[in-house]
């Protein structure tokens, strides 16, 4: 598979939120305002590219080499958690403007299953280093795209009169279903 097809597949066809169902907690939690959605999307792109490549390197050059593959889950989650912590400290010190923008979203990313999910998928699909780099970026871009689209729709729903039992998360899920329906049209493209 060429890189172009890989990018299209990861952003649209196998969209991490709407087709693979990963990262739905922040999807529902941070999508009430456009600003928070954009911030979360950017933070995920930033961390996922780093996490995807670093976990790939650790898996290939440490776990496989020393026959420790069964420790994959625990190693990946520890790597992601410390990476997020490290990125947070680094940004705070060197790029305060970016830190102010992403700040509150960074700790949330540790428990965002899209991050661990993509790292595991890269290994399960037996991607090369370059493929995992590209796939991580494309999956994260797909996450940001879906999140921002969803936040746009959700801001409009605030103005509508929704029946009481359907309010909040319930209408959010139904709306997400409608957006997933739109993304469903990409199925079979690659």
């Amino acid at each position: 598979m060429g890189y172009f097809e890989l990018i299209i597949a990861c952003i649209f066809v196998n969209n991490i939120l709407l087709a693979q169902f990963l990262g739905n907690c922040p999807f529902l939690g941070t999508s009430k305002k456009m600003e928070t959605a954009t911030g979360m999307g950017m933070a995920v792109i930033f961390v996922l590219v780093l996490a995807g490549t670093i976990t790939w390197l650790i898996y290939t050059y440490v776990l496989v080499k020393f026959d420790l593959v069964y420790l994959r889950t625990i190693v990946f989650i520890v790597v992601i958690a410390s990476l997020v912590q490290f990125v947070e400290m680094f940004l705070k010190k060197s790029i305060p403007a970016l830190y102010a923008g992403l700040g509150i979203f960074l700790p949330l990313i540790t428990t965002n299953c899209a991050v661990l999910g993509v790292c595991v998928l890269n290994i399960d699909k037996e991607f090369t280093f370059m493929q995992s780099l590209v796939a991580s970026f494309a999956y994260a871009a797909g996450f940001a795209l879906a999140l921002i689209l969803f936040a746009g729709v959700r801001e409009r729903i605030l103005l509508a009169r929704v029946p009481k039992p359907l309010q909040d998360t319930s209408i959010g899920l139904v709306t997400a279903g409608m957006i997933a329906l739109a993304f469903y049209a990409f199925k079979g493209m690659v």
Partner: protein
Amino acid sequence: MAKSIVQEFTKGLWEQIPPFRLVLGICPALGVSTSVENALGMGMAVTFVLAGSNILISLLRNVIPAKVRIAAFIIIIATFVIIVEHLMQAYTYELFLTLGVFIPLIVVNCIPLGRAEAFASKNGILPSAADGLGLGVGYTLSLCALGALREILGNGTLTIWGDLGYNLTSVFPSFQPFAFMLQAPGAFIGLGLMLCVINAISK
């Protein structure tokens, strides 16, 4: 004391049933609920992890320093997830392949971490075990209900380890399966509508 343990167990079945009352653990609920069989398998895996991590964390709650507790909880939970992963790979290989990436992802499924922080780190072993089991069983029930809804509407059948012989087309000959209920959009809409029904009942 005995009564309160029963209460800790039963609160997970309705009062705090995940993922509806406790809006946690939505991703696997959407991802694996294409059939009752998958939902049951996933629910049991989560119950095992939840009960195991709750018991161990409540045993160690006086040893773990408060500053590094989240990291310690995650490592304990990850250990149980690895155990479940290997048990399923050994004994239920087909289910393991169907659930795929969602098994390692139990680590970041917020329910075990949420219960560790909110309950197991503050309570004794028995209430923690009851809490973990109760929420696990409640989660399994929710997943099965969503799985049943999607399977019946999407395929017209209900399968739990062998076809139950139940077929909607034999009851309603004009029934056409909504294939989309088995796909991604159906998962979101199904869960959203179930949440709406539960909100309406509890009002």
